[in-house]
Subunit: 199 residues, 2 copies
DNA sequence: TAACATGCATACTGGTCGGTATGTTTATTA
DNA sequence: TAATAAACATACCGACCAGTATGCATGTTA
């Protein structure tokens, strides 16, 4: 090692850990594979992270949360028509999937399923991500009811929960079926449901 | 050991493995904990199952598949009104959950998330369970279209996918939130959607 | 009842795991 | 430039893992 760049080293570890966790889950994620992949030594890893658990937390806080914001939160914040925005998001999410990456599913849901019964730190972090997502949809639906784009009669909170649940469920089914078509077909029903929320 | 009962021993191992997998996932499931729990020796375990993997397969084939049939398949087969039956099933599923067991989520989905990218044997087994569930709904929706209980215009295949996805997604959200209320609220939207399928 | 297979028990193996002790190299700062 | 801290490297540790070798007890069958 000649040129040191601690930030770069840390980020490389974080990215490798993200991939490793996505492929094997957190518990089966191997530090040995991560340092092999990044060509970073074990000493360097433990210099940047006090433990495997803390590294996992950092993956959630710095990578997963940010990617959720980018994909699901920000596009909703900057719209005045939540219905159209949601439909667009769903198509965009389908479009980003191919037969190669469909099998990895949703990183949030993967970690949620595996770690929430085992570790409270993971559970709280993931739960706050779901909360952020759901409350963002809820608020925009309420806003839509005020500006006349969303039907007044619907329960916005229940709709928000339902939308998040349906997206996660569809991603999960598609992951297991290894099929983008399954994702598309499963989400078709959601899109029709979302249309019925329109005023 | 005085009275031998190999079937009982095998079933005890299978049940303990099911619990262990549900709590820790398959990869982190510990044979040491399973034999401690059942008070069965390691030699006996390996007499009944050739490997941990095969024991996992047996859990899916003999326990998980059967419980899915009992909870989601059989009640649908014996009905002439799929809409009412689905709504009843959902309420029944909510009713079976409490704050203690909500955190375990759906065994099928748990294993699907963890194992489908890693092991093809698990993936195929779980996929066939989802297929059985989904096609059962599909067939009954088609039947309903013929006997006049289901709207003719709907795409039954897409609806079946969507229903399964929404149930799995809601279970997943509730597991992470450790809240039956989250399950109830998330599934409320599904129930309303199912109502719209009625003729 | 003798022969054999099934069912079970114990002790052990090689390998991987996360984590640490200890040292060296590079960068910062006084 | 000397002192100090940050960044990285290597070798090792005990714990746990799935799996096995071996032997004994029980049940079945000839």
């Amino acid at each position: 090692m000649v040129n040191r760049d601690p930030d770069k080293t840390r980020l490389a570890l974080l990215n490798a850990a993200f991939d490793e966790i996505n492929q094997h889950g957190f518990q089966a994620a191997s530090l040995a594979r991560i340092i092999k992949e990044t060509k970073v030594s074990k000493g360097a890893l433990y210099h940047h992270f006090p433990s495997k658990l803390e590294m996992g937390y950092a993956v959630v806080d710095e990578l997963i949360l940010e990617s959720v914001k980018e994909m699901w939160i920000t596009p909703l914040k900057n719209t005045d028509n939540i219905i159209d925005a949601l439909l667009l998001q769903i198509d965009s999410a389908i479009g980003k999937r191919n037969e190669k990456n469909i099998c990895f599913g949703c990183p949030v849901n993967n970690l949620a399923q595996e770690m929430s019964p085992i570790d409270e730190g993971f559970r709280e972090r993931i739960n706050s991500i779901f909360d952020l997502w759901r409350t963002t949809i809820d608020e925009k639906l309420k806003e839509g009811q005020k500006n006349g784009t969303v039907k007044e009669t619907i329960n916005t909170e229940a709709s928000a929960y339902f939308i998040v649940a349906a997206i996660e469920g569809a991603t999960s089914l598609a992951k297991n079926a290894k099929s983008v078509d399954v994702l598309r077909t499963s989400l078709q029903g959601l899109k029709e449901h979302i249309e019925t929320l329109r005023k």
